[in-house]
Amino acid sequence: MNLYELTIHEAHRLLQEKRISAVELTRSVLGRIEAVEGRVDAYLTIAAEKALEQAMAADKLIGAGDSRPLTGIPLAVKDVICTRGLRTTCASKILANFVPPYDATVSEKLQKAGAIFLGKVNMDEFAMGSSTENSGFKPTRNPWNPDYVPGGSSGGSAAAVAADMCLGALGSDTGGSIRQPASHCGVVGLKPTYGRVSRYGLVAYASSLDQIGPITKDVTDCALLMNAIAGHDSKDSTSVPREVPDYSRNLKNGLDDIIVGLPREYHDSGGLDPDVARAVDNAKAVLKDLGVRFTDVSLPHTPYAVAAYYVIAPAEASSNLARYDGVRFGVRDKSSDSLQEMFRRTRSGGFGAEVKRRIILGTYALSAGYYDAYYGKASQVRTLIMEDFKKAFEACHVLLSPVAPTPAFKIGENTDDPLTMYLSDIFTIPANLAGIPGMSIPCGFSSKGLPIGLQLMARHFDEDTLFKVGYNFEQASDFHDKKPML
C-alpha cells in the first residue's frame, strides 16, 4: 500500500508506532500530487517546501513522545481560508496576489495540533457555485471521470481527498458547498452547526450561512478533524460558547435508539435521478438492518428554500464583497486616474461572471423599494423553514435524504443556465438556512460509475449523532473503500 492512500487514523497509528515518519508520509502525498494533478487540477498553490519543514517539525514532536491525532498529517485547505504567509485567492483574479498577514482560527488550530499544510485547493470563485467551474483560474475535474465536475464550491477539497492528494481537507459550506462535492467525489463531508467552528479568517460570502467543515476519506477521520477545529472563538462573535465533545467517543455505539425521519418533500420530489433514488433506498435498508426506526416527517416549506437562499445569500454577498476595491489588498486597475473609476475598473476586471451576477442580484434585493419584497420576505420564509425542522426533530433524531438530485454532471453542461445550477442545491440549502449540521456519506454509484452521497441532518449541535449513524452505516457498507482509477 502507498502511504498517500492512508486515512488520517491509519497514518496516525503508523506515525505513533514510528513505522513511518511524517517526512516519508508527506513526500509520498507530494509525489502523488505531482503524478495526478495534471488530470485533476485540484490545487491552486502547492507548498511542498513548507510542508516538508512542517513534517520535520512533526517528526521531532513524535520523537519526543508528543503525538496527537493530527501530528504529522498532511492536509489541504480550501483557498477561502486564510493561511499566514501562504497565498489565499478565493479562486478570484481580484485576490490573485493576496498573502494573508494572519491565520484563520482553524488554520492556527490545525497547525498547533501538528498538522501539515500541503497547499491551497481550488473552488468556485468566492465559494459561489456548485461545480468549481466558476474558479477564476481553472476548473477541477472529478477524479472518477475527468469529463465530469467534482461539485462545488469545495470541489478542489473533495477531489483532492478522493484522489489521495491529501489525507483530509477543509472546505466551507454556505448552501451545500461541502456536502455536494463530497457526494460527487465519493468522500465524507460535514457542515457543522452554524457557530460550532470559528469563521475568523474565512473569507466571507454569506455570513449568516457560511460554516467551515472537514472533508475526509471516512467518518472516523471527519470526527478527528472536527475535534481539532470546533469550539468557541472570541474573534468570531457568532461562534457559540459551548463545550466541544470528543466526537470520536460515540462512533461505535449502536443505533437501536435512533429514529430516522424521512422528509416527504425530499423523497417525493420530481427530478430525482433513478440511480440516486435506488442508492438512497439501499441506504435505508442498510440502516434498518442496523436497528434504526423510521418515521415519515414533513418539511412543508422545502419548495421555497432555494428561492429564499438566492435572495439572502446574494444580499449578504453584495455587502461582503464591497471590500474588494483595490485600496488595501488584492489587484488594482492601474489605468484609472480617479478613485471612483479605479473602484469600478478593479472590480469589473477582477470578479468573474457568477460573482457579478450575485452582486447585482443582492444589491437589487437590498435596494430602496425592493428590500421588503425580497430580503424581508425571504427572511420570514427562513423562519418558517427553521420551524419546519424544529417540528420534524420532535419526532426523530436524524433526517435522511439524498445530498443532490443527480450524480455529478458534465463539465460545461450547466454553465449557461445559472438557475438550473442553483436548483441542484435543493436538498442542502435548507440546513444552512436553519443552521443545523449535515453530513454527506458515500452510499453508492451511478450506472456511469459516479459516486452518490447520502445526507444526514441533525438538531443544532448534535454532530455527535451524525458521526454515530454515519460510522455505523459506513462499517456496514464498502463504498468508502472504493478508489477512482487515475
Binding site: 489588498f329 488594482r332 442580484l361 427572511s379
Partner: protein, 95 residues
C-alpha cells in the same frame, strides 16, 4: 422582463461595477429569470412571521476591552497595491 437594462445599470452603479452592452443584456435576462423564480416566495403567507437574520440565537457577544497585540503597520500594508509613507495610496479622490 423582471429587471430592465436601466435597473441593471443603476444597480451596477451602486455596486461599483461597469458592464458592456452584451453583459447588460445577459445579466438582465439571467437576473430577471432568477427574480421570476424567487417570486415563488409570494405564495407563502408570512403574516405575523418574524424575520430570521441569524440561525443561532446569540445576542451581544461581550468581552473585556483589553489591549492585545495587533498587526505591525508594515505587515498590514504588505498587500497594498500602492503605499507611501506608511499609508495606503489611492488615485485622487476629488476630481
Amino acid at each position: 422582463m423582471k429587471i430592465s437594462k436601466e435597473e441593471v445599470l443603476h444597480v451596477a452603479n451602486l455596486a461599483h461595477l461597469e458592464f458592456d452592452e452584451a453583459e447588460i443584456d445577459r445579466f438582465s435576462e439571467q437576473v430577471g429569470k432568477i427574480l421570476e423564480y424567487v417570486d415563488a416566495l409570494n405564495q407563502v403567507d408570512t403574516t405575523g412571521i418574524k424575520p430570521t437574520s441569524h440561525a443561532i440565537f446569540l445576542t451581544n457577544a461581550f468581552r473585556e476591552d483589553v489591549p492585545k497585540a495587533h498587526l505591525d503597520r508594515q505587515v498590514g500594508l504588505a498587500n497594498a497595491p500602492e503605499q507611501e509613507d506608511g499609508c495606503f495610496l489611492t488615485p485622487r479622490v476629488i476630481g
